[in-house]
Every structure is written in C-alpha cells, then in structure tokens.
Subunit: 560 residues, 2 copies
C-alpha cells in the first residue's frame, strides 16, 4: 500500500515535471518558430530592445493616419492618461499628411486591467500588444506599468518617412507580442556622493531607465565623500555636503519618487552604514571613532573609508532616525522630530531598503579607548563582532518598520550564519558568492564589478551582455536570483560623462535581465542595439557609440 | 576763409574725439572703482558669467519671499510672459518658507521698452538691473532679449538655503548692473553632417547658448558626409542623409528657429558650397565632376572633399533653389516649387546666410571633359576662375534676395579684389587673415581653429579665453570685428560627447565676446567659471570639468 502510494506520488511528480517541460518546450518552439516563419531570420524581426518574451510577426506594413489616437477601452486613471499623452508626444513629433481610411491604423485600443499603481518589488509589467488592422489592434496590461512597457515597444515599431510625411509600421504585421520580464529586479545604481547630480539629471536617468525597460533606480545617496541628503531629524548632516547647493531637499526627493512612478521605476534608497561614513562626521563629529586619523599609529585608517563608531551615543539614534525618516515610518528616534505631517514618503517609497554594509575598515576602531571599553561592557571580543552587532540592529529595525533589507555581500561574508533570511544580498565581487548565498537560501541581486560596474575603461556592452547572473547557480536556487544592476560609482563620473558611461552598456544589462535566456545571445544584438541607441539619442539620452568611447569618425548612429 | 573753416572742422573733430575718450575713461574708471569700492576685491563681487559691462555692488543681503513675482510695469508681450515664467521656474525649484515683509524682496519690476522682437544681426541685448529693496528693484531692457540676458544675471545672483528653506541674494546689495555685449555676433557653430544631432539635442544646445549670453547658433547643416536637410524643391537631396531617420524636416527647422527666438538666439544657416559636396550627389549624381573618383589618375580627389561641378546643368538651379527655399524668399528656381504657402521662414530666418566656400579641391575637376569644354566656352582659364565665378554668382544671388553672405576665409584668399564688401569673412586659419581682411575693409567673424575649435584634445578654456579676436588689428578697423564663434566640427563628436566638448571651453569664448576687454583676464575667472559650470549642471547642461576631460576624482562642481 505504501509502495503503491509512493509510486502514485512518483508518477504524479513525473507527469508534472514532464508537463512543465513540454509547456516550456512549446513556448520556446513557438517563439523560435515565429522567429523563423516564412523563412524570416531573426534579423528580419522588428528591432525591439530588449527583445520581448514572445513575438509573432508577419510581413505586412501599415500607414498610421493623422487621426491616430490611443483609445482607452477600460477604466482609466490619471497616470494612464499621462503615460499615453507622453508616448503620443514622443512618437508624433513630425507633420503627418496621411488621411484615415480602412487601410490605415487609426487607433490603438488600450485595455488597463487593474488600477493598482503600487510600485513595489515584483510589480506586474507584463503586456500584450496586437497590431493587425485598424479594428483589431490593442495594447493590454494588468497594470499601467505594463502599458508603459508596451508603449515603449510600440514606439520602437514606428518609423517616419520624410519624403511623404507619413508614419508607418513596416514588414511585421500582423504582430502579436506577449511580453514580460525575466527577472523582477532590474536596475541601475547611481552614486550621488562622489559627485553630485542635479535633480534634472536624475530625472533624465529615470526617463532613460524606462526606455530600457529597467524598473529600479538604486540610489546610493550618501558616502564618505559627501552627505547630500537633507534630514529633518538630524539637520547638521548636510554640513557634510560638498557645498551649500549640492544637496537634495525633501522637495527634490519627492519629485524624484513621483517621476519614478510616472516611469515605472522603483526608487530604492541606500543609506550605507556603518562604513564610508566620513561625511556624517562633519555635522556630528562624535559619530567617528576617536583617534581614527591619528598619524602616529602604524595601522592607518583609510581616509575615505572610516566607519561610524557603534559605541558613540549618537550612532544608533542617527542611524535609526535616518531609516525611519527616509522610509516614511513614524518610528522616529529623535524626540525633536515629531512632525508627522511632514512625513516624506508614505506609500510611495520602495519596500526594499539598502543599508550598505560594505568595506567596514575595522582598523579605524583600533585607536579608540571608548570602543574598547564598550566592547568589554558588551562582551564583544572582536571588531567583527562589533560590526555584526551593529548591522543586526539595523536589519532588525528595518524589518520592524516593514522594509526588506538589502546589503552588499560583505555582510553575508561576515556573518551569514546569523543573518536573517529576509535579507537580500547584493553580489559585487564574484559569482562564487552568489552560488554560496543562494545555496544558503538567500535571495540575491547581481552587480558583479568586472561585468556590470560601468566606470572602468574596459566596461563595454558585449562584456556586460555575456554575463549571465544565474551562471552555475543550481536549478533549484535560480528563483533566488532576483535580478541585477549596472552600477555608476562616481569617483570618475559626473554629469558630463554620466550618460556615455551608462549607455550602451546598461542597455545590454537591460536585455540580459528582461529577455528570455535563449534569446539573449550576440546573434543579432549589435544592429538592434544600434537602432535602440539611435532611439535614445533621438530622445536626448546621450549614449556613447557601441565602442563605449567617443566617435572614431563620421558615422550614422545606425553604424556607431 | 577756407583755412578758418578747415580749422573749425579740425577743432570739432578734436573735441569729439576727446569727448569720446573722456567718456570712455570715466566709464572704465567707474567700473574699476566699483570693483574696488570698500576695499572689495573683484573676487568679492557676485560670480556672474560672463562678467557684466558695468557693475556696482554693496555688502547687504536680502531674503526673497515666497510671494515673490516679476511685475511687468510696461506693456507686455507673449514672449515676455513666457520668458519670465521660464526663469521663475528655473529659479524657484524648492520650497520657500519666507513670508513677505518690508525687509524681503517681494517683486522685481520688469520694464520692457520696445515690443520689437525681430532677431537679426545687431539686435539690442542691453539691460539694466537694479536690486536695492522691495520697492526699488527693477530689470529694464530695450527688447525682450535684453530682459532675457538680465534674467540670466538675476538667476546667477540667487542662492538657496537648504536648512531654513529660503532663497536669498548675498553680500552684494544695493546692486546696479548696466550690461551690454562687447561684440554683436557671439556664437557656436554646430556641424550636423558628420554626425546627426536630434532636434531635442539642438534645442538643448540653444538653451545652453542663452545661459552663456551667446546670441547665434551657426548651423553648418550639410557637408560631404551626409545631407540631412529635407528640401521641398529638390526632394532627392535627402537620399544623401545618413539614414531615413537622420533628417531635419521643415517642422524640425521651424521648431529650432522658434526655440532660438524664445532664447534670443539667431539661427544662422550654412549651406556649404561648392566644396564638400559628395552627399549632394546621392540624390543628384550629375552634380559632381565626371571622373572625380577615377582610380587610374595620378592626381587624386579626396573622397570627402569633392566639390560640385559648376558646369553641371543642375549646379546653379539646385544651389539657387536651396538659397531661396531656406532663406524664405520666393525666388525659387525650380518651376515645380511654387507652393508659397509652405514658405519656410518668412521673417524669422536670420539676415546672415553662410555659404561656406572652404576647401574647394580643384584637382577633383581635372578628369572632367565637360568642365574643360565649359571653361573654354566661358573663357575661364583656371579652376580658380571656375570657383570664383561660381561663388560670385552665389554671393550676388544672396544679396539679391536680401541676405548678407558669410563665407569662410578661403573665399577672401581666392579673390578678395573682386569680392563685394557686403560679404562677411569668417576667419579660421590665422589672425594674419583677420588683419588682412579688415585692412581691406571686410567685416570678419573670428573662429580660429587652434583657439576656438572645440574638438581637439588640446582645446581648453584657458587657451580659448586668452585669445583676443582684435589682436593686432588696427584701431580704425576694430569695428569690423563683429565677434566670433566656437566651432563643433563633428567627425569625432556626436550627441554623447557634445556638451562636454562644448563646455566649459565655449563659456570662456562667451565671456571673451561679451565682457569688457579690461575685465577679460584670468584674475578671477576660474572660480566664477566653476560656479557658472555648477549652474549649467543644475540645469542639465552637462559641461566637462575645467580640465576639459572626465573627472579625476570625487569633487564638488565648485572645485572641478
């Protein structure tokens, strides 16, 4: 009887696995079929970047009439209207002389299935785009963010003829695109401490992320070099800004989060602690370990990596205060800060909150009698224990106020046996840590320096494109890979070279993270990426040529 | 009696000259005095870039109340309202918590003296800005363009305090600025043939020129590599564009001219001829000399410098057609083009029209029997005679349709004895040609390559700043120096590195051309330029650091 039951269970498992396998195979086969139907090669498909999950394309073309509009056939929202209007203005910048007829495309039906606009980890970005003829063309999304992604695809399909002043879609109709991202977390990290970026520049970055179908801006807002974040609970912190004008106000942060929402981009804040804290001390000198910059000691503390001193009576209050303030909760630690009406974010702030944890230079604590006394009192034996205790407090506080903590891999390396499983680990050194962390049940975000850091002279789109974040991760753990990020560490980057460092390398990461793995290869990526780059340039996003440097000689953007 | 009369005339001349000298001296002295009053050094003055013609500054500060507005005390115009609204939004991007009182600045009176909005060479950009207290602060301009320049100065005076959410003007009140440009022609040349720049990018360039108090965009629109200009009279010319989407439509050009007007920037078109014409021939192959690319001949024609063939029956009709079409006249040479309703520019196009004339490679004509036969028929002995005859026809046609021809110095070198004096010569090789041209009575624009071309690796702001366009020009000819231009030749420049090549070098040129010569020295330029660069970055104009390259390490924009 037991054996029979076991056999039935076994049979069921086999059936389920086979079913999944067949379904997946059909999906893959369908896709591949559609790519090759009528002897069309991949290169004959319209150059959509990142490539969609599923696409089926015919050979017909259609003119778009001057009466063309988006026709909402579902309930509408303010954000949906704003999005449609934005893309209408992006697409139709020229005169259109084509009168509507039964042979022209006069409308695209828009079907928004849910009015839920909450932007949080895993939000729905899927969409379905069908273009056949005038009556049967539609764009469907579960959320307005799916509609945004679909409109970006629609934008990329439309061309303009300067000779007869007409818009058209060429050689790909009827068209069915069923699209959704491969990974839920796809972003770029921007460091605004080493150089300050104006709000206008950050908004332009957000806009550009949306064109790439990214969904997250990881904002590494402060670091050792400057503290540009204006805090109401600890107003002296901005004394650590580069200058009196290189600062982000509440008003600025609200604009950035609002613009993120309008572009389907989560704004994930990082307040890096306890390392990289020199800038904190300009306003509150007691935050740093005593004697850290004593020039007479043999063990030197690196100037820009000095960490907070966990034994300082200010360290926890200020750290907790910042977490509360910038996650929009009312757990404020500062008794002077009880103006709830000025609560910054409410529901708009992301559910992931990054607290750094990288590169804690323990030797900086070595000169401080205060720390050593405090270690004795608290029964902490090593500086590693000090770091661990501090970080655990931060993590627990974040969990208490309802946020999911994200930390750089150093934290995992330091004490993964005691690290809560809710923590998401961001990998930047090596894939081996990704394997190790997932084997230990941690969710990870991939941002491995030699592939996805964007500031190096050797960074380029092919290198970035070829890195697969699930590499050597066991199949049962692949669901723990949440996605990845390109990173703009800004020692050698400021506004003047930001976009040429961001793109096209980040665009390659965008496709790696959005498109099916069997599509993400170099087969026809280059020409599609060149086309996509042209579409970025057209919209004022100043991507470098594919050589990742400056232009070598006169060329079309389609060959650069 | 005759001697007496002569003496009286002589005396009068002496009195007038003395009068001018004394007046100028007083003006200079006043300015210098104001710079040193109360032992204030130049560096204590507010960091306005480019420095104003006359400024007088006190030591007081003032808060700007949240009720602040621009109050028009004269007649108004749509453009004036749009300009005030633009600067209001540029300045007031943050919360302002300051209530109005008798001690705050609550308004700036705006006095527009003339509604004349015609943008042409020499238009009035002067303004007077007085800020004392709430009742006696005003900005006065003869034209709306003077108001624009004054608002830019006002913008640069205002700071924000992130600690108490207030706007203020610091340590310089009462303030009187009497400002006007030193030269009437101050611009940047943009080459859109070697790389195509999107309309959005060109609009951003125009916006940036206005912040620099430039007044001209010299648009080198076509060249050998591509022909992005969509012509209704000769529609096949756009076959020479890089691609079917790297083209400027009428609609685009109108947007660019309209935006120029909104920023006080003349859009001066250049249609370079007869050299650099390879791209013309894609649509009209017969325009080029027969046999130009014959590989068997010993004298080679450089691929990208092949000129038009003046003996082609198409050369003059197409050249004249383009001049007519793009200067908005109705002297169209193409009988098929008589749609006057589609006239492009009407009054909005600039009165200066550039027709190139540089680098005509005569040897490219050497293989063509057609040219040689035609030379015999027309009694032309040398290829130089061919070029001269063609250019004279172009110049006369331009004068006939009411435009002032501008040509590169090659034309002056080729036949200055027969060149009409109406022609403006743009100098790019050497100051000696500037001296020679002015000695021969020609007006010049200075754009000498080794100082004011912006694409070289050695280009930098100090080099550009130190070049004085009137150098060694005799005093009696200085009025013939109309101004100058920084030049973006785009073989190695595209949208991705455009702004870091444009700025800060062009900003240095902007001050050289706007500010009094006795002020234009390196004394306090660096810190003012750094401040100005910060103000550009804030507005999304991504100037390189002052090293003209990428950032060397983490820094404030005020030290970069």
């Amino acid at each position: 009887m037991i054996i029979l039951k076991r056999n039935i269970v076994f049979l069921l498992i086999i059936i389920i696995v086979l079913g999944i396998f067949i379904a997946t195979s059909i999906e893959i086969k369908n896709y591949k079929l559609s790519l090759n139907q009528n002897k069309n090669e991949i290169s004959k498909n319209p150059p959509i970047w990142p490539a969609p999950f599923y696409g089926q394309f015919g050979n017909n073309s259609i003119l778009i009439s001057k009466e063309f509009n988006f026709t909402i056939i579902s309930d509408s929202t303010l954000l949906l209207n704003k999005t449609l209007s934005k893309y209408y203005n992006l697409i139709f910048t020229q005169d259109n002389l084509i009168n509507s007829s039964s042979n022209t495309l006069n409308k695209l039906n828009i079907n928004l299935k849910s009015k839920n606009e909450i932007l949080k980890f895993g939000f729905d970005e899927s969409y379905k785009l069908i273009i056949k003829n005038n009556e049967n063309s539609k764009l469907e999304g579960n959320t307005v963010y799916g509609i945004m992604r679909g409109l970006e695809t629609f934008y990329q399909l439309i061309k303009y003829n300067f000779s007869d002043n007409s818009y058209f879609i060429e050689n790909c109709l009827p068209l069915i695109i069923n699209d959704k991202p491969r990974f839920p977390h796809r972003g770029v990290m921007l460091d605004t401490s080493r150089h300050f970026y104006s709000v206008d520049t950050i908004l332009k970055v957000i806009e550009s992320l949306s064109y790439n179908k990214f969904n997250t801006l990881h904002w590494h807002i402060i670091d050792s070099q400057s503290f540009p974040l204006s805090s109401k609970s600890y107003p002296n912190l901005i004394n650590g800004a580069w200058s009196k004008s290189e600062i982000y106000s509440y008003h600025d942060i609200k604009r950035i989060i609002k613009y993120g929402k309008e572009n389907g981009i989560r704004i994930q804040l990082e307040i890096d602690m306890p390392g990289h804290a020199k800038s904190w001390s300009v306003g509150y000198p007691d935050l740093l370990p005593h004697g850290w910059n004593d020039s007479t000691t043999t063990i030197k503390c690196p100037d820009y990596d000095v960490p907070l001193d966990p034994s300082s009576p200010l360290s926890l209050p200020i750290s907790f205060g910042l977490l509360s303030e910038f996650s929009g909760t009312d757990y404020g630690y500062n008794p002077n800060y009880d103006d709830k009406s000025n609560n910054l974010f409410n529901l708009t702030v992301d559910d992931l909150f990054h607290v750094g944890g990288d590169e804690i230079e323990y030797q900086c604590w070595n000169n401080s009698k205060r720390i050593k006394d405090w270690m004795n009192e608290n029964n902490l034996k090593t500086f590693q224990d000090v770091a661990k205790q501090f970080q655990l407090k931060i993590i627990k506080q974040l969990l208490k106020i309802g946020k999911i903590p994200v930390l750089w891999e150093d934290t995992f390396q330091l004490f993964y046996k005691d690290l809560p499983k809710d923590v998401i680990v961001e990998i930047y050194h090596d894939q081996s840590t990704a394997i190790n962390a997932t084997n230990n049940g941690y969710k990870i975000i991939s941002s491995i320096a030699r592939y996805w850091y964007l500031e190096y002279s050797y960074s380029n789109w092919i290198r970035a494109y070829n890195f697969e974040p699930t590499l050597n991760i066991s199949k049962s753990n692949i669901h723990l890979v949440l996605g990845g990020e390109g990173a703009i560490w800004s020692e050698s980057i400021d506004s003047s070279n930001l976009f040429q460092k961001l793109y096209p390398t980040s665009s390659a990461i965008a496709e790696r993270l959005w498109s099916p793995i069997y599509y993400t290869n170099l087969l026809n990526a280059k020409s599609r990426l060149q086309s996509f780059r042209c579409s970025l340039l057209k919209r004022g996003i100043n991507s470098a040529p594919l050589n990742n440097s400056s232009p070598l000689s006169a060329f079309s953007c389609y060959n650069s």
